[in-house]
């Protein structure tokens, strides 16, 4: 039986193998991984002190709020965006796709009976799964040390919405970056485009500050963009800032953005392959 026939008959076996190989690949550097995760919280230390100083100036007795956030909530917000980012960030995804287009490596997906997006998605899922297993320790430690910044656990409904928003933020992050990578079919060199994306992502996803702080038209624009689901939205859901009808709308819109980027990545891949001329080796 050829491999082709094998995959036809056992499509799941193929995908399971891909996932298992990726998992094993990722587990090789687990020590470095855990240390890296813990270190990633270090910049938060300066943020905690910075906001401490800002809130000192705003309200002497700790009652002051900024854009509806108390000091406690602000710190909790920054901690929670680390969780959102753990789901939505896709380091190197778009640049890898663009590089594979440029050096011709992408050919292998065109001849082998493997779907490029499916293959990459499984690779990322494996990466994330290993990441959560290894990062659970450092995350638990940091959240335990900072437990005083939280008002206990949110109710069940909020938790369910939080988990749903995180899973969708993973999918949104993946398909958004994959679409950007596909631009490589047209431009070959996409590093400037990726820098612009990184810049906007950093400031307008809520990673740097809660987007509730943005005034007027800026706030409206940013709230209409899909970026907010990559960091701000899940954190705000957990803190109970978004509830009831707003929450349902938010989750619905997040889902819609995921669908939009699934389609966009498929369409750009489809048309990209048509104009692809297999440069490189």
């Amino acid at each position: 039986m050829t491999t082709h026939q094998l995959t036809r008959r056992f499509p799941l076996t193929t995908w399971w193998t891909v996932l298992r190989i990726s998992l094993e690949e990722r587990l090789v550097y687990r020590g470095d991984f855990a240390l890296g995760t813990l270190m990633r919280f270090l910049p938060l230390v300066t943020q905690v002190f910075l906001w401490g100083a800002i809130f000192e100036a705003v309200g002497t007795d700790g009652s002051g709020t900024i854009a509806g956030y108390t000091y406690q909530e602000m710190v909790a917000y920054y901690l929670l965006t680390q969780v959102s980012r753990a789901f939505s960030s896709m380091p190197g995804l778009a640049s890898t796709i663009a590089l594979q287009i440029r050096n011709g490596e992408i050919k292998k997906y065109l001849i082998q009976p493997v779907d490029l997006l499916g293959f990459l998605l499984l690779g990322r899922m494996a990466h994330k799964l290993v990441y959560y297993v290894v990062a659970a320790g450092p995350f638990a430690l940091v959240f335990f040390l900072c437990r005083d910044f939280f008002n206990g656990w949110p109710d069940l409904l909020t938790m369910v919405a939080f988990v749903a928003s995180l899973v969708m933020s993973f999918l949104l992050g993946f398909f958004l970056e994959a679409t950007l990578g596909m631009v490589g079919f047209w431009f070959l060199e996409v590093s400037s485009l990726l820098f612009v994306y990184m810049l906007f992502n950093f400031f307008f996803s809520g990673h740097m500050f809660p987007i509730d702080m943005l005034p007027g038209v800026w706030g409206t624009i940013v709230r209409g963009s899909p970026l907010q689901y990559l960091a701000y939205f899940p954190a705000a859901v957990f803190l109970g800032k978004i509830q009831g009808e707003q929450l349902a709308w938010g989750l619905g819109l997040e889902f819609a953005w995921v669908v939009v980027f699934v389609i966009l990545s498929r369409v750009t891949f489809h048309f990209g392959v048509k104009r692809y001329s297999a440069y490189g080796g």
């Binding site: 240390l35 800002i54 705003v58 810049l199 950093f202």
Partner: protein, 293 residues
């Protein structure tokens, strides 16, 4: 290019002549600067894109702090870091960072790689101080656009302060900027020299970023049971807190009696950092085993 040819000609005269060569450090540095500029100008579009990208990064950062000052009038209570004082602080951070990025960052990055690949052999053979050679070989001219942005921001913020700085303040400012750059450089070269022992030092830049992150805010924000030890550690053990704080205080806040000891300490910290990093660099060179060359 003429300098290089001349050096080669002199080197060609035999081993004895090489030993007697006393390179002009300034001349070599200027050649490095010119070569880097030539290289940057060869890819002009790329240079422009890099400049625009880093400037937009600066602008976004400035926007973030402008946003914060919509909600508060100062960073910390009674610390004296109001909006324009803080912008002087921010401009100082950008000045120091852009100098470090333009002159040392690309080189230290390269240094770790030279150690790993054995390419350092070629640097060791050259008749010039190895630390000088590997520290200044490349200059990233695009980063100097950030310096212009920072100076612009500095002038703008100073104009909004109640009083213009005095001549003494203006004269001392570049001195303390130099101290700050020296401390940052020492830290960076020390971190990259550790590649000799660690083989590969991938988390080097993460580590650099995480440590220098502490220098980005006024030291007054670190207080309390966790903050005070952090402040002491990053002032006296790894002196990244004096890098920006001392020059920024000097300009933004009237010279206060209690800030003088820190200013004197900054001079000492800069000298000590340079000396320590030099010692570590030498040790690293002694342990270098020219792997895979």
């Amino acid at each position: 290019m003429i300098d290089t040819t001349a050096n080669e000609a002199r080197a060609g005269q035999g081993g004895e002549a090489v030993a007697n060569v006393h390179p002009s450090y300034l001349g070599v540095f200027l050649t490095f600067a010119r070569n880097s500029l030539v290289r940057d100008m060869t890819f002009r579009a790329n240079f422009i894109i890099e400049t625009v990208s880093s400037l937009s990064w600066m602008a976004m950062n400035l926007g973030y702090y402008m946003l914060i000052f919509r909600f508060t009038s100062s960073i910390g209570r009674n610390t004296g870091w109001g909006e324009y004082e803080f912008f002087v602080f921010l401009a100082t951070t950008l000045v120091v960072n852009s100098i470090v990025q333009a002159f040392f960052m690309p080189n230290c990055e390269e240094f770790s790689e030279l150690i790993r690949t054995g390419g350092l052999d070629f640097a060791l053979l050259k008749p010039i101080d190895t630390q000088f050679l590997i520290s200044l070989q490349k200059i990233d001219w695009a980063s100097l656009s950030n310096l212009l942005f920072a100076i612009g921001l500095l002038a703008f913020s100073l104009a909004h302060l109640p009083a213009w700085p005095t001549a003494v303040q203006i004269l001392l400012y570049p001195l303390y900027i130099a101290c700050g750059v020296a401390i940052m450089y020492s830290l960076m070269i020390t971190l990259s020299a550790t590649s000799v022992w660690l083989g590969r030092n991938q988390t080097l830049y993460d580590f650099w970023f995480y440590i220098t992150n502490f220098s980005r805010y006024p030291m007054e924000i670190y207080h309390g049971t966790v903050g005070s030890p952090l402040r002491i550690f990053f002032t006296y053990i790894i002196p990244v807190l004096v890098v920006v704080n001392v020059p920024a205080q000097l300009l933004a806040k009237p010279l206060e009696a209690q800030s003088w000891p820190l200013a004197v300490f900054a001079l000492f910290a800069a000298a000590a950092s340079l000396w320590t990093s030099r010692q570590i660099f030498r040790r690293a060179m002694l342990s270098y085993r020219s792997a895979s060359s």
